[in-house]
């Protein structure tokens, strides 16, 4: 019996050793891939950083209002964030490529899904970024126009516009990454529709005089020039 | 196409104006004469003219270049004899050249026997042949014409101790046309020359014949009555002869001299001439078209006389002050070029000796409605000498050749009646008939071709005129029409190439045939007819429907 145990043990050890010997080179390959991947990712990060610095990406991001958001979330600057993101994605990519070598079943499928997901994530982030840019621009434009036209509550108007655009953009981003698509769509639809309806009622009932004045000024030329004119000053 | 037979000769004439003194000296005394003129008739016939208008050649003290006449029935001795004149007349007629002479009706020289008799005593039979007065206050509303030299229209005669009336120089007393004897005698004078065979008279200073108190003594109905009477007699006794009025007036004021076709046959269109010069300088047809728009219709048997230059200064009386200043500043920069209210220069110097402009101006002269007159020497581009004083700068000897005295006279150069033009540009070695005859494209030969083309049609002399008003104001374009014949004339008044679109829809379907080269141009369609012209270029197109 002792000999059987030893023999089985030896066999098991041999199998383990065989398995280890089978796995070890692959692990070494994974490690090497990880190392190479780190180097490549690092180089990529440095390269990207210099490009972003060149195109003043931080300034762009500031204009977009993204920088303020990041600061509030105690995140690093947009350039740093992007570089780090790219670094991690690249390195992870390399690691995952290496992991494939291990030949673990099911893992390959997940890895493939991960890589397929990446472009959509990127697009979503791009939508978000551009959307923030647009929201800031639009809200500022509305603010300035309202101030110069002496409208009441210009900031409220500006913030409303900004919020609407951000919500819209977020919905699009979420839809792009496929997170709670249906929920987001419906939620956005309800929120947007309600807002519009509310605005219409408010504008229509409360602001009908303003609306009349606005339309008259825009569409009817040649009406009395004194209407709406506060004085006889001319800047030029 | 030959000229229609029922058209009066003067409507198709091309008149050559010359002074016998300036043309050719046959006897070596330095002064041109009739025998000389006779010898040069072939030249004129070859050139293509068919009428010659002679400046005054009657005996005269020559204090007003022959317009002060001392004898109406003879020839000044410097120019030959009456026989010489008759011979010349016959030679001209042999070559189918009509002869028009000057007839100064309004006044005579104070050396004329009539005046000598009139002034001798108040009882003399010729006393009333002139206008006498004991005071100088009559007819005070009449203007003084020679402002530079005369202070009054009355002159004191120490012989008869009274004043006599003169509208011009004081040595040119006015005849009294209220006296039937004067009227009869002047008709006799005219008859004398008509019987010799002259074809017409240029009647000088016609507006001033009769005076009436309380008027400006110009263009009076009584004056017209005198002229009409002359015309009536002329038509009765000498049909086919012509009367040409010299009256420097606006076209509308000139109209009465045509009456109903029973007064003058022709009259000079004075206001048009400076405007042609103006149009070329301004590069704008406006002055030309506007004066012609203001020109009234005249009876069908009557005709305007057109000219570019003549023996007098280029008159600027019939223009506005603005226009006069412009003309003086552009054509007479030196003050010595200006005389009275005009410019005393010849055609070629006025146009800066620019051959293209000379051609253009002659082209317009030959194609506008009227009978053209060429001043002697302008056909070869003669120059002038403003240093000769008065208007003598444009009356220098004709330049026949580059040789002795320009071939004008065999006399010593110092004996010539006036010095020759001698500068390198216009002097007789450079500008003369002989050289130009030998050069195919000389101005002389070109003028000959121009006249030849003009004579292929009666349209220019007798046809109607309709101006086209293309938007490009540098183009003067008009359509001349007579019966079935239509001619389009397009002139570029500018010194740069021009493009012009002409509205010829009325003549749609016609083919244009350029009259000099006889080449065919595109047919007129519905769209504006596009033409391009070089600097100062002009086209004459015959419109044909085939």
């Amino acid at each position: 019996m002792w000999e059987m145990i030893v023999s089985e043990l030896t066999q098991a050890m041999q199998e383990l050793a065989r398995g280890f010997a089978h796995l070890l080179p692959r692990i070494i390959v994974v490690v090497i891939m990880a190392f190479v991947g780190w180097v490549v990712a690092y180089l990529l990060k440095v390269f990207l950083r210099s490009i972003l610095r060149l195109i003043k990406f931080d300034t762009l991001s500031e204009n977009a209002g993204a920088s303020q958001l990041l600061t509030k979330a105690a995140l690093p600057s947009a350039t740093d964030l992007l570089c780090r993101f790219v670094f991690w994605v690249a390195w992870l990519g390399f690691i995952l490529l290496g992991v494939r070598v291990l030949g673990i079943a099911g893992l390959e499928e997940q890895i493939a899904k991960f890589f397929l997901f990446l472009p959509r994530l990127f697009v979503a982030l791009l939508i978000l970024f551009l959307g923030l840019l647009g929201a800031t621009f639009l809200s500022r434009a509305v603010l300035l126009a309202a101030v110069n036209a002496n409208f009441p509550s210009p900031r409220l108007l500006s913030v409303s516009i900004r919020s609407i655009v951000i919500i819209f953009v977020l919905s699009m981003a979420f839809e792009e990454v496929g997170v709670a698509e249906e929920t987001m769509l419906v939620a956005f639809g309800i929120a947007f529709g309600a807002t519009m309806l509310g605005l219409a009622i408010a504008f229509g009932t409360g602001g009908k005089d303003l609306a009349r004045q606005f339309l008259e000024k825009r569409l009817v030329r040649g009406t009395s020039k004194d209407e709406g004119k506060e004085d006889d000053l001319s800047p030029l | 196409m030959p000229i229609a037979k029922d058209v009066p000769w003067y409507k198709d004439a091309i008149i050559y104006q010359a002074h016998v003194r300036t043309f050719y000296d046959s006897n070596g005394d330095g002064i041109g004469d009739f025998q000389g003129l006779d010898q040069k008739l072939d030249y004129l016939a070859e050139l293509g003219i068919n009428a010659i208008w002679l400046m005054p050649f009657f005996p005269s003290p020559l204090r007003d270049d022959g317009y002060d006449i001392a004898d109406y029935n003879s020839v000044h001795s410097s120019y030959g004899t009456l026989e010489d004149f008759k011979k010349f007349l016959a030679s001209a007629h042999d070559r189918h050249i009509k002869v028009i002479i000057e007839m100064v009706l309004n006044h005579t020289s104070d050396q004329h026997p009539w005046f000598q008799q009139s002034r001798s005593s108040r009882e003399n039979s010729h006393r009333d042949w002139y206008v006498w007065s004991d005071t100088d206050t009559r007819y005070h509303e009449a203007r003084i014409i020679f402002l530079d030299t005369e202070m009054s229209n009355w002159a004191w005669d120490p012989v008869s101790k009274s004043y006599y009336w003169h509208r011009f120089f004081s040595h040119q007393p006015d005849l009294n046309y209220d006296n039937p004897a004067v009227r009869d005698e002047m008709w006799n004078v005219m008859t004398f020359w008509l019987k010799l065979g002259v074809d017409g008279f240029r009647l000088d200073a016609v507006p001033y014949l009769v005076e009436r108190e309380g008027t400006n003594c110009e263009n009076l109905p009584e004056t017209h009555a005198v002229l009409k009477e002359l015309r009536r007699k002329l038509d009765e006794q000498f049909p086919g002869k012509m009367l040409l009025a010299e009256a420097n007036q606006w076209p509308a004021d000139l109209r009465p001299y045509f009456a109903d076709g029973d007064e003058f046959h022709m009259a000079f269109h004075f206001p048009l001439m400076p405007r042609m010069f103006m149009g070329v300088k301004l590069e704008d047809r406006k002055p030309i078209t506007e004066i012609l728009q203001q020109t009234p219709e005249i009876p069908p048997s009557c005709q305007w006389c057109l000219f570019l230059r003549n023996h007098d200064e280029l008159t600027l009386e019939m223009v506005t002050d603005l226009e006069r200043d412009y003309m003086n500043d552009t054509y007479a920069q030196e003050k010595t070029m200006r005389l009275n209210r005009g410019i005393r220069r010849r055609l070629a110097p006025l146009l800066d000796n620019d051959r293209r402009r000379v051609e253009l101006m002659n082209g317009m002269l030959m194609s506008l409605p009227g009978t053209p007159i060429i001043y002697y020497g302008d056909e070869i581009g003669m120059g002038d000498n403003i240093n000769l004083g008065d208007r003598n700068g444009v009356r220098t000897p004709m330049q026949w050749s580059g040789g002795w005295n320009a071939g004008f006279s065999a006399a010593d150069p110092e004996k010539l009646y006036a010095p020759l033009i001698q500068d390198p540009v216009y002097g007789y070695p450079a500008v003369n008939v002989f050289s130009q005859r030998r050069t195919e494209h000389s101005l002389l030969n070109w003028m000959g071709r121009l006249m030849a083309v003009r004579k292929t049609t009666a349209v220019f002399g007798s046809g109607s005129i309709e101006f086209l008003y293309p938007a490009n104001h540098r183009i003067l374009a008009y359509v001349r029409q007579l019966g079935n014949e239509t001619i389009l004339v397009v002139n570029n008044l500018s010194n740069a190439a021009q493009a012009v679109e002409l509205d010829l829809r009325r003549h749609k379907g016609n083919i244009l045939i350029e009259m000099f080269g006889k080449n065919v141009f595109p047919r007129v369609g519905e769209l504006p007819y596009l033409l391009t012209l070089g600097p100062y270029q002009f086209y004459w197109f015959r419109l044909r429907r085939i």
């Binding site: 500022r140 300035l144 210009p154 004085d231 800047p235 030029l236 | 704008d284 728009q293 104001h473 540098r474």
Partner: protein, 427 residues
Amino acid sequence: MTEASLAEESFLTDDLLRQLINVGEVDILVGVPTHNDAKTIGPIVETIQAGILGFFPRARAAIINVDGGSRDGTRELIVGAGIDDAKSTSKVRTLRTLHSISTQYATTPARGTALRTILAAAELLRAKACAVVSPESTQITTEWLTSLLRPAYIEDFDLVLPTYRRHRFDGILLSNLLYPMTRALYGLRIREPYALDFAFSGRLGSQFLAENVWHDEAAQAGSETQFTLTAIAGGYRICQSFLGSKDQIERRSVDLVPAMRQTVGALFASLEPKVSLWSTTNGSLPISTTGPEQEFTLEPLRVNRKRLRDMFLTGVTELESVFQSILSPSTLAELQRIARLEETGFCYSAELWVKTVYEFAAAYHKSVISRDHIIQAMAPLFRGRAFTFLTENRTASAANVEDDIEALCLEFERMKPYLREIWNGRE
């Protein structure tokens, strides 16, 4: 070179080209941009013609109307006023044809395109001198033509700008910003750097036509100001000519923001390409002027000063986040301080105003936010400055107003090093 670029872009219609061919070379061209001006344009064109015929009777001249889509017969009125031999009903006796042509450059008015069309016509017609007359200048007299054209046509100036008799409170944007800043930056005391009635030589017109402003819509809008700056930068001979009263009858309410876009926007945009010029210019010199440099009238004028201050306060409050991107912290703080002052104590000092303007100019150069937004943001601050100007000069004489403006100009000049500093300075 210019002919080639014209051919490439071909914004000139065939119809206009045909009309230009018919006009041919001219000595003088007068351009009149219009849009539905049938009520006023007749007498203006008649006056222009009388001016040309009276003062330049021998000159080859033409009037060109560039129209932005009128539907009230404006174009027909102008074309019908031409003087030529085809119109035998013309009462005016002239030496030459005086063409009056018209073209529609667009279906809606666009100042820049209008000016560009006039410049192209002037070049093709080889005009020696060209004047532009606004259809709003109903106070025009025949003397305007000689005042504008004589310097360009006879005295060899390249740009002739107008000076006017104005109400002392008229044109505050000009007197408090455009004039002093142009003067400080470019060293020339040009009272009306933005003008609607002006004249120029053919040389300058060709130069400006060839410049690359026509591809940019924003730059096109400020083309009049650009024109003046091109003349200054190119060392062209500039002068001023007194015209008379600036039109007061048709006081169209010129909206401030569009006006600022055309003027202040153009001025700021010019700073970058011309930095080597303005950064080395010190002080300022007067330019040749015919007649008084400026005349002020003192009649009462309806002015709503309170509204100006209110809009300033609203601006300072609501636009704080925008101003933070544009102004320095000290300037912004100072503005907020004066915003808290009572009306009687309110004063937007010259120094503060100059600092504000210069900081805006630097921000514009760096495009810290959209450039159009920078201009819009400046409007409420200008209103505050206008309020102070109106208050300080409420009972002032014409001389005092002039002194006040002169003091402001000197302040602009004195603080120019500050602009240089912040221009190259902080990131």
